[in-house]
Amino acid sequence: MTDPSPVFTADNLRKSFSTPRGPVKAVDGISLELAPSDFVALHGPSGCGKSTLLLIAGALLSPDEGTIRIDDADPYALDANGRAAFRAANVGFVFQQFHLIPFLDVLDNVLAPQLSGREDRGALRTRALELLEKFNLSHRLNHVPSALSVGEQQRVALARALLKSPRLLLADEPTGNLDEENARVIMDHLSEFAKNRGAVLMVTHDPAARASAKRSLHLEAGRITA
């Protein structure tokens, strides 16, 4: 870790949800730091708080206690619109279900982050085409998601997450729906993103995926245990 300023820090995060059977402590005192080029895999039993931690890290769910900083800024100090703009500029998301927009073709799906505000459209388009070329999707530009294989779909989702060159990439079981070969391709791309001074926080059950990460954290009942 040559860079002294981390991409992401979490300080003593706590988040509980009230349920009919009393409050559930989803995240219970987690501190974490991701330096540039860091690639962290989170694993643990179902319900241990992995997704909750990811949502908090992605400026989508404010913690009850503790703070996070992304590139030295606290997104929860901003109002809703400010936080949305912050997410657009700094965070990329990849999900197990891809969450592509079904009626947009591949290129438009990758360019969907343009909807978050005015930007240099030409530059983003060039970037989108580069990413799709790199992800071997150039021949699919005008296909809708339903016409793609799952591996292709996840690559489109990844391209969308990387469009605005975020510092932090959050992935929740990105290979959960993929076969071995497609999973490997995605992990390669995540590794490459990390190598280029990005930081990746990834939830995964897949031991092979975990092997691609630089380090691996085990969560148990909302706490990091290893």
Partner: protein, 426 residues
């Protein structure tokens, strides 16, 4: 990639939902246009009917008037000649003139070569107390007809009352129990009752007629009269009063001439009655049309709100369905930094396009298929003649606004979706 593209792509993707929204607006707009057309057709029809009736009345009246004018030319009529300074309102109020003029006037007329007048009857009238009987009577001194010098003397029209004789109205001889031949005291003089009139139901019933000269003496108005009646006047032109005035005023400049009841007047009255009847008929027709219009308006006033509410509820429900379907999409858009306002705009934009499309289709159908319904719905008027430009562009403006209003709640619901909740179920 931009918002417009997102809206258009989504519409093309979920065609059924969009088409159903369009259908809702389409039917509502069609309903509005049809109702408007029916009301306008009613008004146009009313104008047409009333216009036709008015033209017909006008024509009939003109014809009637023409006939009356023609027939009046040959008809005799009566006039009164009063002193020039006589207030007519007074004559109408008390029944006779209070101002007087020289009796000489009647002789002057009679000896002129006036051709328009046939009979001249001078009179002096006063309302006085009958001192001996302590009651109010109208005393008229009459001289009978003054023969026109330039013609053969005619038989008198009214019996001149001889000196020392009285003619009594019904009320007088009845209450005083007088009969022809009786002697009675009047202002200190003794008179014989010459004639007793039957009941006339007018002031004639309290009138005493006597010889003009004797009357002037009793009233100390020697040589004075206050009216000359000219009977059976005849004129060559239609403007008979104008003609006769011209002639008379040359001879008697300080008098005024008034026409009284005649056959001609009665005809003019008949014409007025005919006109009044026609006007009443038109007014009745107008009233009937107005009542029909109110009924149609009431129906429209019931139909249009119901149609609007149903159409809006329909669009609201379809939008809600659309929002439900798109929850994951909203979640991911919000996660990648799209503002909630943008999400709201996307859904409202969709409703706007549906409103615009529905209105355009509805108006187009009304325009092109309207002629097929002209006979049955628009009373033969063409839809384009019934609706003006505003009737066409206003629905085009309002339908999208109402659609947005209808979609507002579900769209707002969409914009309020928490991406954390949406994406957690991954």
């Amino acid at each position: 990639m931009n918002l417009r593209r997102l809206v258009v792509r989504e519409i093309l993707h979920r065609k059924l939902n969009f088409a159903l929204s369009v259908l809702g607006v389409f039917l509502a707009v069609l309903c509005v246009i049809a109702t408007l057309g029916i009301l306008r057709a009613h008004d146009a029809q009313t104008d047409r009917i009333i216009g036709e009736m008015e033209v017909q009345t006008r024509d009939e009246m003109a014809k009637l008037e023409d006939e009356i004018r023609k027939s009046m030319k040959g008809l005799g009529f009566n006039i009164y000649i009063f002193p020039e300074d006589q207030e007519m309102s007074e004559v109408y109020a008390q029944g006779y003139a209070s101002k007087s003029m020289p009796e000489e006037y009647v002789n002057k007329l009679a000896s002129s070569d006036i051709v328009t007048v046939n009979h001249l009857l001078p009179s002096l009238t006063r309302k006085i107390k009958w001192p001996e009987k302590a009651r109010t009577v109208i005393l008229i001194g009459v001289r009978g007809e003054v023969p026109l010098a330039h013609r053969d003397p005619k038989a008198p029209l009214i019996d001149p009352v001889e000196e020392d004789k009285l003619v009594l109205g019904y009320e007088l001889h009845r209450s005083l129990d007088l009969a022809p031949g009786d002697t009675v005291e009047f202002m200190g003089e003794s008179f014989t009752v010459e004639k007793c009139h039957d009941e006339r139901g007018s002031k004639d019933d309290i009138t005493i007629w006597m010889n003009l000269g004797q009357c002037q003496e009793l009233l100390q108005m020697e040589g004075r009269i206050n009216a000359i009646q000219a009977l059976e006047c005849n004129c060559a032109t239609v403007d008979r009063l104008g003609e006769i005035r011209k002639e008379l005023l040359q001879i008697l400049p300080d008098t005024r001439i008034i026409e009284t009841g005649s056959t001609a007047l009665a005809r003019a009255e008949a014409r007025n009655t005919a006109q009044a009847t026609a006007e009443r008929q038109i007014a009745g027709k107008k009233q009937e049309r107005a009542r029909l219009r109110r009924e149609r308006e009431r129906f429209a006033g019931l139909l249009l709100p119901i149609v609007s509410v149903f159409s809006m509820a329909w669009i609201g429900m379809l939008t809600l369905t659309n929002v439900r379907e798109r929850i994951p999409e909203i979640g991911i858009l919000r996660a990648i930094g799209v503002k909630s306002r943008t999400v709201l705009t996307a859904f409202l934009g969709r409703a706007f396009v549906a409103g615009l499309t529905g209105a355009a289709l509805g108006l187009a159908l009304a325009f092109f298929a309207g002629p097929l319904f002209e006979e049955n719905f628009f009373q033969g008027h063409s839809i384009s003649s019934l609706l003006d430009a505003r009737d066409w562009w206003l629905p085009l403006l309002l339908a999208p606004l109402f659609a947005c209003l209808a979609a507002w709640l579900p769209s707002f619901h969409a914009a309020q979706q928490d991406p954390a909740v949406v994406l957690r179920h991954d």
